[in-house]
Amino acid sequence: MLEIKNLTASINNRDILKGLNISIKPGELHAIMGPNGSGKSTLANVLSGKNGYKISGEIRYEGKDLKEMSVDKRAQKGIFLAFQYPIEIPGVNTNNFLKTSLNKVRKARGEKEIDTMSFLKLLKEKSSELGIDEKMMSRQLNLGFSGGEKKKNEILQMKILKPNFVILDETDSGLDIDALKIVANGVNSYRDKKKSFLVITHYQRLLDYIKPDFVHVLSDGKIVKSGCMELAEELEKKGYNKIK
């Protein structure tokens, strides 16, 4: 699904990623843990195609060179990033935006555009699964949403757009324990043999609910250790400094 070889990324002449390697197969869920400033969010940004980074190395998604793909094309090809800080966009209605977005993705997949009635039905179903008040959907996008509402809205978008490869960038930050469970359930119910996940987090807490197949430790722009769930538990006990 995703093959990253010797990836480096710098911004404003500061090197952030310094030769990162990772390989994610269909159906796998990989967790990336690391201290502040290790390059976790940069990795998410680079994969989403964000402007401003100088990049070298290889990123292949379903065999194709990802670096050549524009941000919107990546989304249309099934890459989804759940943002650490979802952007507030005044004046843009959440409902309308989601429908436009879904139709762009459907069109790219060669599917028919969804009509308003079917869309509202789908929206109602998916938001109730996540315990989202439907009224939230007629508000302006993320504007005045609480931290939890913003994160739930990201997971809702994931469930509606049905991507193949999902990046969760610190989705657990800012969530209380109830919201965390709901979000984790949302992710778990979406897992299957074909879909892959890259979960970026500081803490083991999220991984208690979303069980990873692999855990990697990112430090100073490189993956310094890889393992299974036990690695996450070890990190929680000993801290990042002891693992290198």
């Binding site: 195609g49 402007n51 524009s70 919107d72 989304a75 966009i89 977005s101």
Partner: protein, 417 residues
């Protein structure tokens, strides 16, 4: 008008005048215009909009001839029930108040009776004083609330070419009465022409007036409007201006809050593209205690578009407890576009709340990125943000049918981006 855009005084003898006073008034104003010509950037009020340069660049001549035109059909809006007044090339054409008590409404052709000797320094107002001989006068008697909106269809016909139209309108809303209007500008001319309007709105005690101004399509019009508005005690004036769609548009709006507890609310949202040039100039005169005014002007500028907002708040010494607010926000999409903002506060009372703010900036790249990660391309994302930026103003319109109508029109303007 001759090549140097002077108006021959013979034009005045062609206008039916009722008195020597009127004729003298017209001639005096014409002389002022001929002496000064179209205003240029040396006039403080025109420093961001050099009209002389714009006229010289786009016109070789201008006809002042007032030809009456027969119009067969006006395409009325079907989105919601409404009364209407139809104006063709500035002239009162027809009206229909089928939803109202007709005894409470007077509509007639405007006749000027005020030949004040006040010296006017705006050459365009002088030109209007000299030549205007058409327009409408709408009067609402006391204690009458309109049941439906009045749409004022401002139709400009196909045959307008290198013309300059001068018209004068007046709206008077009586005590405890309420009127809602929509100025809807339909421009069928594919050619360039100038429209110069002088407008008076007078609100009696406790009157409510709400107005929306919008263009149907993009056009080649060069518009100037001077509007003088009087607010008496406890009256409320609200205006939503969606002025884009013209090549040049200057709205010079003066509000006189003469009665205590009166309120004025002005909001505007524009999308300026290509060579569009638009200026909103306001003068909010707080002349009595305890009045409120609120102004919010939002502009999106693309390619060579130019926008100007000059907003002045004046608070007279007796106007204590004034609450005045002014905000300008501009979103700039291109390095070639320009936005000029000049806020002014002149305050002579000591117990007032006056604030103003002005921001202009580029489109939020992080927001574009967020939208693109959801599959929208750059252009679609930008359009969505433009729409959202301007929608904040439209959302303040209370009636849903009117709101949707305005949204549709504005979307069409942005669609061309």
């Amino acid at each position: 008008m001759t090549n140097s855009f002077q108006v021959n005084s013979k034009e005045i003898s062609k206008i039916k005048t009722t008195s020597k006073r009127e004729k003298d008034f017209r001639i005096k104003n014409l002389n002022f215009f001929n002496k000064n010509g179209f205003p240029n950037k040396r006039h403080e009020d025109w420093k961001f909009s050099d009209l002389r340069e714009i006229i010289y660049k786009n016109f070789k001549k201008l006809n002042t001839k007032n030809t009456s035109v027969k119009v067969k059909k006006i395409n009325f809006i079907k989105d919601f029930d409404h009364n209407y007044v139809a104006i063709v090339n500035g002239e009162l054409h027809s009206s229909n108040f089928k939803f109202e008590d007709k005894n409470k409404i007077k509509i007639k052709i405007f006749k000027n009776k005020n030949f004040s000797q006040e010296n006017e320094s705006n050459p365009l107002i002088c030109l209007n004083h000299a030549l205007a001989n058409k327009g409408y006068h709408l009067e609402i008697k006391d204690n009458y609330k309109f049941k439906k909106t009045v749409i004022i269809y401002n139709l400009f016909t196909k045959d307008l070419k290198d013309s300059i139209l001068n018209s004068r309108n007046k709206i008077k809303v009586g005590k405890n009465s309420e009127l809602h209007t929509i100025d809807f500008i339909i421009n069928e001319s594919k050619h360039k022409f100038v429209n110069n309007v002088y407008e008076n709105v007078a609100l009696a005690n406790n009157a409510v007036y709400k107005n929306i101004c919008i263009q149907k399509d993009k056009s080649q019009g060069y518009f100037h409007k001077f509007s003088k508005n009087q607010l008496l005690s406890k009256s409320k004036y609200s205006t939503f201006i969606f002025p884009s769609g013209l090549r040049f548009n200057k709205l010079d709006l003066e509000f006189n809050l003469e009665g205590k507890d009166s309120e004025c609310n002005l909001q505007s949202a524009s999308f300026l593209n290509k060579d569009d040039h638009q200026e909103i100039k306001t003068k909010m005169n707080h002349l009595a205690p305890n009045c409120k005014s609120y102004q919010r002007v939002k502009n999106v500028l693309s390619s060579d578009g130019k926008g100007v907002y000059q907003g002045k708040i004046y608070v007279k010494n007796i106007a204590q407890k004034t609450d005045a607010y002014q905000l300008s926000k501009a979103m700039i999409l291109s390095d070639n576009s320009e936005f000029d903002s000049k806020p002014e506060l002149e305050i002579y009372a000591d117990d007032v709340k006056c604030s103003h703010g002005s921001t202009s900036g580029k489109v939020d790249e992080d927001a574009i990125h967020y939208l693109m990660t959801r599959g929208l391309d750059k252009k679609e994302s930008t359009k969505l943000l433009i729409n959202g930026f301007l929608n904040e103003v439209i959302e303040m319109i209370k009636s849903n049918s009117v709101k949707n109508f305005v949204k549709g029109k504005l979307k069409k303007q942005i669609y061309g981006y």
